[in-house]
């Protein structure tokens, strides 16, 4: 008898092509699907997720940190935290892993056309935003969006991810401004020192015709949102991503629910109006 349906829980074999160290505990893994045709067919949207497998250890969900305009490969910027991430960090270039996805919703970039964009990230939280930043800064899309401001902070200089992009590539693009900060003074650092929310208030970006996107540790998001409110941003102008423990990624295993919503299907991207409608259980 034939199997009744195709199996969405089955990963595709993939290869880690390149490992780019970002910080002491964050690597960006550049991954391609082993099936060349599948790689050509692959499409994802900025903000979407994918499940990575290290066989014998487990599976975990990560945001795809590369832009959909990058068609050659996918990138995942991953902090070494638990079982699967530790195993991933133990792999070498050329290692085989499993990949399934893409999952979840995405940043509504269509609705953002014609607007200025403000990205506010903390630590590894820049990873999901990076997918959209690179997407809007790509030549084919740049004309659709106004000014792009990026405010990004981390605990220390070493903890800043994507250094080449934040210090060189993005500031050199037209119509961009990149502000970086670290939590505490350091000898080699002559940039801004202080927490991200305070820096946001200091820079005081105008709410105007703008969409703000923020991602980082929960405590940072909490205070960033307070700062945004002071600056006059309305809830529907602010987007964030939520993160919960996931196993299946396809709305069956029941663990990433917040009220009636599943973060794997209905998220990870929510605007602040939507977040405020959710029960506070994330």
């Amino acid at each position: 008898m034939e199997q009744a349906v195709r199996n969405p829980l089955l990963p595709q074999p993939a290869t880690i092509e390149k490992i780019i160290p970002e910080t002491g505990d964050v690597n960006t893994f550049r991954v391609t699907l082993d099936n060349a045709e599948a790689m050509t067919r692959w499409r994802h949207e900025p903000g979407q997720l994918a499940m990575l497998s290290v066989f014998g250890v487990g599976e975990a969900m990560f945001s795809i940190s590369s832009s959909p305009t990058q068609r050659e490969y996918l990138e995942f910027s991953i902090k070494r935290m638990g079982k699967v991430t530790t195993a991933l960090h133990g792999l070498e270039e050329g290692a085989k892993i499993g990949l399934r996805g893409p999952y979840g919703n995405y940043f509504p970039y269509e609705k953002m056309k014609g607007k200025d964009l403000l990205f506010i990230g903390g630590g590894i939280g820049l990873a999901p935003l990076r997918s959209l930043i690179d997407f809007v800064l790509a030549d084919e899309n740049r004309g659709d969006y106004g000014k792009v401001e990026i405010i990004y902070g981390a605990r220390s200089y070493d903890d800043l991810c994507f250094k080449r992009q934040i210090f060189e590539e993005w500031p050199q693009k037209e119509g961009t401004a990149v502000y970086t900060t670290i939590d505490r003074e350091e000898e080699q650092w002559d940039g801004h020192v202080g927490f991200v929310p305070a820096y946001v208030e200091e820079i005081a970006p105008a709410a105007g015709n703008k969409i703000a996107l923020t991602c980082g540790p929960p405590i940072m998001i909490k205070f960033v949102l307070q700062a945004m409110e002071k600056l006059g941003f309305k809830d529907e102008q602010i987007y964030s991503t939520l993160e919960l423990r996931m196993k299946c990624g396809i709305g069956k295993c029941g663990r990433c629910n917040i009220g009636s919503k599943f973060v794997c299907l209905d998220g990870p991207v929510f605007n602040l109006t939507e977040i405020k409608e959710l029960p506070p259980e994330f």
């Binding site: 014998g56 250890v57 638990g82 079982k83 530790t86």
Partner: protein, 328 residues
Amino acid sequence: MKQIVDRLRQEAARLLAAGDVAMVIGYAKGTDVARTTPYFATNEEEAQNLTWNPFCTNNLVKYLLDFRFEDTKLAVVVKGCDSKGINRLIYDRQFPRERVVVLGVPCGGLLDRSKVLATIDPGAELQSVEDLGQEFVVRTDHGEFTFAKEQYLLPKCAVCRNPNPVISDVLLGEELPVAEEEKSDTFDDIVEMEALDPAAKSAFWDRHFNRCLRCYACRNVCPACNCRECAFEQAVPGWQQEACWLSKKASVDNNYTFHLIRMFDVTGRCIDCGECERVCPVNIPLRKLYRKVIKDVQELFGDTTPGLNIGDGLPLTSYRKEDPEEFM
């Protein structure tokens, strides 16, 4: 039994009104005639919902652990069997003596719920229960029923050696007499199990463990299971990063591992309150496991019943020169 209920409510109300305790953990009416439910009275009014009858099976001592990191004082209702759990928690520094007021109830035995429900309509309203020594008289709005203890007690109660609480601050009734011959456990059930040949033993446990759902009710109800974080639940087990030493897969081999590890963990600490076996949704005879190690420990180290008093040196946590060492 009415006197005990009245005294319990009075005492609970007094403790709560005086602010001596923040909460009285006891029993309240359950949702069928042969059932009670754990109840947490926090004021005088709620104290009037407390009850006592031969359906008060739950060992409430376990709930103390929910409050172990707070500083409030609590009162808890205990039967003789449960009371040993209090001593155990105090000895293991899991709950300080000064934070608990023990409301002890001399217990004439608990009725087997399933046997009672074969006689009384579950929807009947329980009016009163009288303990006549050899039998209980249960009055309901569906009539009066007499249950001979010999026939209707829970198995663990039939061989009970501690009808009176071994620790209590307030004793809510007259101490019950304990016959001399009831004082030592003959472990008939275990002797019977030991007599089986290995293949029969293995077949017996294979069959029972095979249907374990790994719901962990036995662990969660157990007053001897007091780890803050269970080894079986660690997301990344400390000493083996990659291979979880107990897979979530509820196969018979994993289930053996779970139950046998738990058995060794509670050795010398299990007070034989029987809650594990009562709560098991698939009727695994768990007491047989734990009673086996109680018997072994007694044979190796002398007659030690965990929890009989606070200070007793437990065989597996204390050292004596004369301890057996044939395994060394």
